[in-house]
């Protein structure tokens, strides 16, 4: 009897383990719609990117559908959250490709998650338009991978060009210790020489650090003409406050990673005078009417604010552009992923939120240097600088 119990429990264990493993949810497929996948960091550290991206994607898909869809077919968005975790991103892309049978994918939001999923998109022959900034994504060019976020190369160039006009030669840099900061630091170091700028002190801070006075003191000691801080909220806001506390007295440049009204709110009066490169969305109202992007920017900003009752940031624009590019490229493909890819690569002069896109087989980001403008924070709002 005792023997039997033992056999039972052994067998039971095995069966239980397998039972738990084998429970998967299935879903029926409706072939009448075009499915577009979305992979965003909706929660977690990079939620400031993923959250507006998800909302923008949903908003855009809705409005395309309201206008009759693509070639008479409706679009459907299937969106998964990565929490910024590459392993979760890999699971999500596999689910999108194999279970949801999506035609194309928008996202992921961050560079590491994008780099992790790229081989899977390529293997499955599914076009992917990333919303991350890292240069490694489109350099070297992978035939199936595109991206809509302006790359750090352009942001750094915009800052350095502005510095040149102000005669700044020695700078200190302070970058966040993650993929975003690292990519920025690489570009800052690579391009400084071209503009006759020397980096006299380079430091880092942790994304959730509470105090950066030590780093700034060190930078101050090296006597630079300006400081560039490369990070995403909330770190740069702390840097801004600390710089005010230490009375640095030199111009502070931030990256496009803080280009949202949230930064002004967090940094308060310490943000006054801060310079940063940003996509035109933050200052769409100030643009001359001749600007080709003005109409698109105004429409996006107004729709977004109306739909979600939140101020618009440039981050959601990455997903907005990606969906629009996909919608344009989807026309006439009949749902063929290869044709879709070819169509994306052939897109020319597409006016989007992040800039004007022109893709070629060698250029999968497609943005020119004029995607960025320099702005300065004055009286708690953004002002264009020339």
């Amino acid at each position: 009897m005792k023997e039997r119990t033992a056999i039972h429990s052994h067998g039971v264990r095995t069966v239980l383990v397998l039972a738990v493993i084998m429970i998967f949810t299935g879903s029926a497929l409706a072939e009448e719609v075009y499915k577009i996948g979305g992979i965003f960091s909706v929660t977690g550290r990079a939620s400031f990117l993923g959250d507006p991206e998800k909302k923008s994607m949903e908003m855009m898909i809705e409005s395309i559908n309201a206008a009759g869809g693509i070639d008479g077919r409706q679009l459907e968005a299937v969106i998964y959250d990565t929490e910024g975790d590459p392993t979760k991103a890999v699971m999500a892309i596999s689910k999108l490709i194999n279970k949801d049978n999506v035609l194309a994918i928008v996202g992921p939001s961050t560079t590491p998650t994008t780099l992790a999923v790229m081989p899977f998109a390529e293997k499955a022959g599914t076009p992917l338009i990333s919303c991350a900034a890292g240069n490694k994504i489109t350099m070297p060019v992978n035939p199936w991978i595109f991206k809509t976020a302006q790359s750090d190369i352009l942001a750094v160039r915009a800052i350095f060009e502005h510095m040149k006009t102000r005669g700044i030669q020695k700078i200190g840099i302070l970058t966040v210790a993650n993929a975003f900061g690292e990519s920025g630091r690489e570009q800052l170091e690579a391009q400084a020489g071209d503009f006759g700028i020397t980096i006299v002190q380079a430091d880092k801070f942790g994304g959730n650090d509470t105090d950066m006075t030590a780093q700034l003191t060190k930078i101050k000691g090296a006597g630079p003409d300006a400081v560039i801080c490369w990070g995403t909220n909330p770190g740069p806001a702390v840097v801004s406050k600390n710089a005010q506390q230490l009375e640095l007295g030199i111009p502070i440049y931030q990256s496009h990673g803080v280009a949202s009204p949230k930064f002004i709110e967090l940094a308060g009066e310490s943000a006054e005078g801060t310079l940063l490169p940003t996509g035109k969305i933050l200052v769409y109202g100030l643009l001359p009417d001749a600007d080709p992007q003005k109409a698109v920017l105004t429409a996006y900003a107004e729709n977004y604010t109306k739909a979600f009752n939140q101020p618009v940031s440039g981050f959601g624009g990455y997903a907005y552009d990606a969906v629009n590019i996909l919608a344009k490229a989807l026309k006439g493909t009949g749902g063929d992923k290869g044709k879709l890819r070819d169509n994306i690569e052939a897109i020319k002069d597409h006016v989007g939120v992040s800039g004007v896109f022109t893709f070629t087989p060698d250029e999968h980001n497609g943005l020119a240097a004029d995607a960025f403008v320099m702005v300065q924070i004055q009286n708690g709002t953004w002002e264009l600088v020339k």
Binding site: T43, D203, N208, A237, G268
Partner: protein, 291 residues
């Protein structure tokens, strides 16, 4: 010299925060032999509570401070009652995993309530930074230092002079012995929980003005506080204080004189070395419990 003083200020400010968090860890440990991995989340609740009550509802600062700490302590009370007390025959590691679950739950809850974005509050008093030998000290840093020291001294007297404090210490030394001499040890455990989480929230309240408050700020702070508590010797009040300040100052000096990229590594290497030389931390006496 100016730079050194500035590093010291930065270290003292951060160190005081770590110390307050470490005291919370330590006091709970001595009463229950439990490390609360959700402790950092109570720091977060404190900071975000202040954002709502002071920054949002504009209550007077002392009232907002007290209400926030009381609110977090209430969450601690409910947590002990619902999730810790109810476990039958608990193995220490099981309780630790429950606190890990609680930390995820609290973080998720805070994300629902306060959103994914960070928030900020103004400093307690609006004075300009104070100039000391060329280095700048924020008035908020003085608030933090004073509150940390007052808390430590207050707790010291609580343990030494009040009957409840003595009873709590007796429970910490020997739960059954205390029970036999008529001390309601279960109530002492509950009290320790409430006080510990309240201390966590206090750390959150005082740090809120110098940093940015978001639902995910607690993890790193909790971890640092745990390090500080272990560095000083878990269960020791002065150890937690010493551990906190040591950690804070070492970090700041590491940024200044070694490398800002490796500042956490420097702190952890120091921690390992101290543990290797003195396996029970700086002020620790008893052997910590086994798993």
């Amino acid at each position: 010299m100016e730079a050194f003083v500035q590093y010291l200020f930065s270290g003292l400010t951060n160190g005081a925060i770590y110390a307050v968090i470490a005291i919370g860890f330590s006091m709970l440990y001595s009463a229950t032999e439990l490390i609360n991995f959700a402790h950092g989340e109570f720091v977060m609740l404190g900071a975000l509570g202040l954002v709502t009550l002071w920054g949002g509802l504009h209550l007077p600062l002392p009232a907002a401070f007290a209400l926030t700490v009381a609110g977090a302590a209430l969450v601690g009370f409910l947590f002990e009652r619902t999730a810790i007390r109810t476990v039958k025959k608990p193995h220490p590691i099981v309780l630790v995993i429950i606190t890990v679950g609680a930390s995820i739950f609290l973080r998720g809850g805070a994300m629902m309530i306060w959103g994914k974005d960070a928030h900020s509050v103004p400093p307690f008093s609006g004075h300009p930074p104070i100039d000391v030998a060329g280095a700048k000290l924020l008035p908020q840093s003085i608030w933090i230092l004073v509150i940390a020291v007052v808390l430590a001294v207050g707790l010291f007297y609580f343990y030494r002079r009040t009957l409840t404090g003595k009873a709590m210490q007796a429970t910490a030394i020997n739960k059954w012995g205390a029970w036999l001499s008529g001390i309601p040890s279960e109530r002492m455990v509950l009290l320790a929980f409430v006080m510990s989480t309240g201390l966590g929230a206090t750390a959150g309240v005082i740090i809120a003005p110098i940093t940015m408050c978001s639902y995910d700020m607690g993890t790193m702070l909790g971890l640092k506080g745990f390090c500080a508590a272990m560095l000083g010797g878990i269960g020791s009040l002065w150890g937690a204080l010493a551990g906190g300040f040591t950690l804070g100052i070492v970090e700041a000096l590491a940024v200044g004189y070694v490398s800002s990229a490796a500042k956490d590594a420097v702190a952890f290497i120091l921690l390992l070395l101290i543990l290797y030389i003195k396996p029970s931390g700086l002020f620790g006496t008893a052997d910590a419990s086994r798993f």
